[in-house]
Every structure is written in structure tokens, then in C-alpha cells.
Subunit: 397 residues, 2 copies
């Protein structure tokens, strides 16, 4: 029988690195500075340990109502249909696309990284005619290219990524969204790494469907995808000629449970939602102005501190995504060296940073300073460990 | 800011009902005797409160390996592709069907309740030609009808439910599975309410794809769907002419992460998997012979104790599903009375039982004695509360 030990957390730099070796029943303590998950606050962890109640219990439905209200605030929307989908962000992406697209529909996707390309793959599988406008990884979406495609094709849907987790680029959504709406297109926005890290204004920007993830700037456990659909988007779903290909992701069926009827669809992930409640409350208690300023300050401090060690930011300052910074690996490290160095940061210092993804594999690191981890102390711990690994004389260890 | 209180659990009858009123930040304590979730053991709850580590951390991948091994044991299979899908059981159902069916493929579904019908709906949406063989709710699948349909149609897939959570019927899978395989069909089995409550033998029965849920007889939090595909099923997926309609549920992509390559697909739900590890270990420590005997004993005790109160089992004894018993509501209660009585059990006694679903709404209760709750003490608490509500003089309270 297992005897589980709950170790102290390493969030926010308050907890020191616990050097205990992992045994069968204990887990190492990590400072999670990769592309997510970030470290969850002890309040979030304690919330998940609360005893279960039923998914149709009035007490649980009241909790869920509160979570939905709080998510609206964080998304910057009045969308009634705003809920935590019972699956990770990738499923949130798929929910947006398979509900809004019918076979043969046209979609224009602005792609500047892994997640724009993933949107394209998901839309293809939904039977859509996809026009993908690529731009170099590390640059924002090719706005002129997307606007031209909107003009040429009058697409049913326009989709792009607000916060590209593979490149660390922040996209200004306003211009594309305005042109798309003027052309009668619905606008889908990937907010996986921006929700609760940047101030979102879905309604002001004119976004019709957006999705996020629980494990990034909300600092909750992975597995939930906050999701929001405008009334305009819901009307499009109601007007479909063929059913949504996914029963599990069908927003009309989801609306039966998360709306006022409370009809059973699937069993909601109770414990994860306890944790999400605690996470969104923490974000709202801090307030988005202070929270986004904290993310910005931490990211700027990171760049200032790692440049002397040879790591240069990939992205120009005006497009940088504070929760996720991509750093070019010093040339003298090489692809093999960067991987070995990341492994040493993990095993010797308990610090996780992310490697490059897709085209940028082996070329950049992805350093997440998200949610609870967007703090100067986290940067200090990383820089201290990095400096030690890069500059120590191996013979003296 | 929230100050969350962790209340004592009500599992296994060891914890008394906590009469604290629910306030904004506390949750009521419930004995969960509905169709799931069941109460999680404190070990499972404590496991979920462990600090997060990354989904590509070697320590996490080792944990995941162990969970996958343990799930194989519980499913009774050597299937390499056995994993906890990052979404509820309904998504597990969809994963089985959308991977194995291509547009135009034929499927025969034996349906004797809500979940057989749901399979049919999901298969329709995948573009399959569906032959649904219905049988009365509360009866097993119409075996002769299914065998005839297999003979007539040589379907690509045959699917049915091992443990119908809407009716409390247990299906013997062997005869249908054998005939289906002989006809060259793949066999899909819904094991949502049987895994870890009944001894499963997927390999001996000849099942090609099966799915379950974490919140039933495993007594973990809802949100994960244990899933298993045979090599024969994986070959069918590899031979597809069109891509799987769902990117999120594509087993070839899932295999990249859960197999040996460990390629990022989506971020696994870390905390839920900590809980699942604890839950499967508890099940294996007890052993399935003892565990299934405990479920049977509890269900038989329930029926013995509620018959004097006017509740009769819907299902004949040879087909009863021990983890979930459907009870006909006494005629003198009526539809309104049964609902009010369930509400009083919940609010006055902290006990959740399930109402009827679909065709059986208002006619039966669904009493789950699953996992940690398959204990005589749980029955005693329910019967005591039921007796009090039915037989007390309201004037004396």
C-alpha cells in the first residue's frame, strides 16, 4: 500500500529546493519555469484535496457558477457561454474549431508557431478549407497577409494565437479581429498562455471564441480548458446543417449542463474544479493590472539577468509575451549541450525550463514565468543555478 | 481571498455526516451513493495535493508508466496501448469509436440503456452506418439480435456496454465478442462502471478497445478515462484512409506521449494522475477477487435491506451489476415524491443517490456502491436515513 508524502512546494521562490531523492512513493520538488505547468499555490493544492461531492449537487453547481463568473472577468467578456472544459487546452482548441466549422467551410489561420499550425491541422480534420498564412517563428502573425486572405476569401472563421507558447510572441488581436468581423467571419483566439497573465478583453477586441489552459498563468493543475463563445458564435452553431463531429465537445450539449438547465452531459472533474476555483480567486484578488505588471517585470528582469550569461531573447521587445520568454541558446553550447544543461538544471537544482519546440528545437529555451512563478526570486534561483553550471570548474565538485 | 477548509471525508462509512452548513468557502460532506463519483479515499485526496512536477519530468513519466502497468492488470490485458485519457469516460467512448470508424464503416451496437444509445450517437457523428439492436432497459443486450446483425452485415466494429450505468445491468461479453471476432469485426466494450469493481479479462474475452472512468469503482476524482486498445485495433487505425477526425483523441498521437517516445502531445493532468496512481494501487493491494466479492456483498445487502421499505430491484439477479443497483420506486411515492425524498436524503442526511436516467427517469433510483463505498456501513447509513424519512412523523421533528 502506498504511503504518500506531501512535500513542501517550490512556488514563488518561497520554498527551497528539496534535495530528497525520489523514491517509489515521493516526488521531487520542482521549480517549474518551463512552458507549463507552473507551480500551483498551496491554496490550490489544498482545494483539490477536499472531499468529493456530486457533479449535480446544488453546492457543486453553485461553485461552478462562481468559477464561470470569475472566468468571464478574466477573459474580459460578458459571454454567457463561458466555462471550464473538462479537458486540456488542446481540446479547447478543438472545441472552438469543430463547433464553428462545417465540412467545406473556409478558415484563414495566421500561424507563427506550433499552436497556429496545430489549429490548421485540427481545422483540416474538421473538413474545412484551410488557408494558412505563415510568418517566421519569433515574429508576430503576418497581419497584411491575413487581411488580404480575409478580403480574398471571405472566410467563415479567422483564427490565430494571442500568446504563442512555442515562440514567446504576443499578438495584438485588434486589427485582425476588426477586419474579420467586418467581413462576416467569426474570430477564434488561442489564449492558452495569456489568460490571467495578460489583461484580456475578448468583447472589446471582438473575439467570438477563445480557449485557454489551467496550468499556465492561472497556476492550477493541467487538465481544464477555460472556454468562451459569443452569442454570435452560438448562433452559428445552432444554424449548422450537420451535427458537430464531436459529441464530447458539442457546445450545445455542454450548454445543457453549464447553462441553466443543468442536464447531465458528462461527469465534471470535481477536484480539478475545486483547484480552479482557488486559482481564479487568487488571480482576481490580485487584480489583472497588478498581475500583468508582475508578469512583465519578471520577464524583463529575466532578460536582464541572462544576457550576461550569453542568452539573448528571440523576440523583439514590442512583441514579447511576458509569461513565456524564448532565449537563444549560446552558440558555444550546441544542441547536445543545451539538452544536457537543462537536464542538470532539473536534476541538480530542481529547476525545469523548456526546450525549443518544432522549428526551434535545439535553438531556444522556453522560460515560463507564469502565475505564481512570475516573481523575481524565481529568476534569481534560475540565474544562480545557470551561472553555477556554466562557470563552475567541474573538477571541484 | 479564499480560506478553504478541508472537511473530514465521508468515505466507507468511517466519517460521520458533517452537519456544518455550507458557507461560501466550505463544502458539505456527502456520502456519494449515486452513479458516480464515489467518495475518494483520503490517500487519493492527499495524493492530488502533492506539488506539481512537469509532464515530461522523468519522475512523472515513471509515475505514468506505473499507472499504465497497473491499469493493464485491472483491465486484464497485455495491451501495450493502455493509458489514462485526459478527459472523462464520455471522451473515452468517443476515442474508441472515432479511431476505429471511418466514414461509411459499419457498426453494430447492442443498446440497453443510455450509454449504448450514446455510443450510437457518437458513431453516427463519426459518419458510420449504425445498426442499433435495442433491448428493454433493465434487460441485457439482445444477444441473438446482435449475432444476427453481425452475420447479416459483417460490421467493421461491434460495440456494447459491459456495465450499463443507467440500468444496472451487467453484460456477459464473451459470446458477442467471440462471434464478432470470428466475423472479422473489432469489439469495443464500455467498462465505465465495471473497472475495479468487477474482474475484467479483456484479452480472454477478445475485446479490442475498452474505456472506463476514474470516478466509479476506482474511487478517484472524475476526469480521467482509462483506455486500452489491442494491437489488432492499432493496426486498423494505422490502415485508415482518412485521418481520425479528432486531433485530441487520435490514438497514434497519444501513443507518441504514452508510448516510449514521450513526444509532447498535450499537457497531462498531473494532479489527477497522482490521484489515479493512489486509486489503482489501492485496488491492486486489495486484489480483484476480494474487491469484486465486496461489491457483490454490498449490493446483495442493499437489496435485502431496502425491500422491506418498498424498493424492489429492477434487474433480475443473474444480470445485476453489483456496483450500481437500480431500485424501482415504491408506487405510493410518485415521481414528485421520489425527487423530494432524494433531496431530503441529500440535505438532511448528506447522502446522494441517483435518479433514473432517460426512459427510467422518475421510475427508479440508481444506488452506487462503488469502490470505497461498496461497504455494508454505507448501506446501513442509507437505510437508516431512508427509514427515518419514510416512517417518521413529520410533526415530531
Amino acid at each position: 500500500m502506498s504511503t504518500l508524502r506531501v512535500l513542501s512546494t517550490a512556488h514563488g521562490g518561497e520554498g527551497g529546493y528539496d534535495a530528497d531523492m525520489q523514491t517509489e512513493n515521493t516526488l521531487p520538488t520542482r521549480l517549474l519555469l518551463g512552458p507549463g505547468p507552473s507551480n500551483a499555490h498551496p491554496e490550490v493544492l489544498a482545494a483539490m484535496a477536499q472531499p468529493l461531492i456530486g457533479h449535480l449537487d446544488p453546492a457543486f453547481l453553485a461553485l461552478l457558477d462562481g468559477v464561470q463568473t470569475d472566468l468571464r472577468t478574466l477573459f474580459g467578456t460578458d459571454n454567457r457561454f463561458t466555462l471550464p472544459l473538462s479537458a486540456p487546452g488542446s481540446a479547447g482548441m478543438e472545441a472552438c474549431l469543430v463547433n464553428l466549422l462545417e465540412p467545406g467551410d473556409r478558415i484563414v489561420i495566421g500561424a507563427n508557431g506550433v499552436f497556429g499550425r496545430r489549429m490548421s491541422e485540427v481545422a483540416h480534420r474538421a473538413g474545412a478549407q484551410v488557408t494558412r498564412i505563415d510568418s517566421p517563428w519569433g515574429e508576430p502573425v503576418d497581419e497584411a497577409g491575413v487581411l488580404k486572405a480575409i478580403q480574398d476569401e471571405s472566410p467563415d472563421v479567422v483564427a490565430f494565437v494571442h500568446a504563442e507558447t512555442s515562440t514567446g510572441v504576443r499578438q495584438d488581436p485588434e486589427v485582425i479581429a476588426r477586419h474579420a468581423r467586418e467581413a462576416g467571419s467569426l474570430v477564434v483566439l488561442d489564449c492558452v498562455t495569456s489568460l490571467a497573465g495578460l489583461t484580456l478583453e475578448l468583447d472589446r477586441w471582438g473575439i467570438d471564441a477563445a480557449y485557454s489552459g489551467s496550468q499556465k498563468c492561472l497556476s492550477c493543475s493541467p487538465g481544464l480548458s477555460p472556454l468562451s463563445f459569443s452569442e454570435r458564435a452560438l448562433e452559428r452553431v445552432r444554424a449548422r446543417k450537420v451535427p458537430v463531429q464531436s459529441w464530447f465537445l458539442d457546445v450545445s450539449l455542454l450548454d445543457g449542463y453549464y447553462g441553466t438547465e443543468r442536464v447531465y452531459h458528462h461527469t465534471a472533474p470535481i477536484s480539478a474544479l475545486y483547484g480552479l476555483q482557488a486559482g481564479v480567486r487568487r488571480a482576481l484578488a490580485e487584480g489583472m493590472p497588478a498581475r500583468s505588471a508582475r508578469h512583465l517585470e519578471a520577464a524583463e528582469y529575466l532578460i536582464e539577468k541572462v544576457q550576461p550569461l550569453g542568452f539573448e531573447p528571440l523576440v523583439r521587445s514590442e512583441y514579447r509575451l511576458p509569461p513565456l520568454t524564448t532565449l537563444r541558446i549560446p552558440e558555444n553550447l550546441g544542441a547536445e549541450g543545451e539538452s544536457a544543461l537543462r537536464r542538470r538544471l532539473l536534476t541538480q537544482h530542481g529547476i525545469e525550463v523548456g526546450g525549443g519546440l518544432g522549428e526551434l528545437a535545439g535553438q531556444v529555451w522556453r522560460v515560463g514565468l507564469m502565475g505564481e512563478n512570475a516573481r523575481l526570486e524565481c529568476v534569481d534561483r534560475l540565474v544562480w543555478a545557470l551561472d553555477k553550471e556554466l562557470n563552475s570548474n567541474p573538477g571541484t565538485e
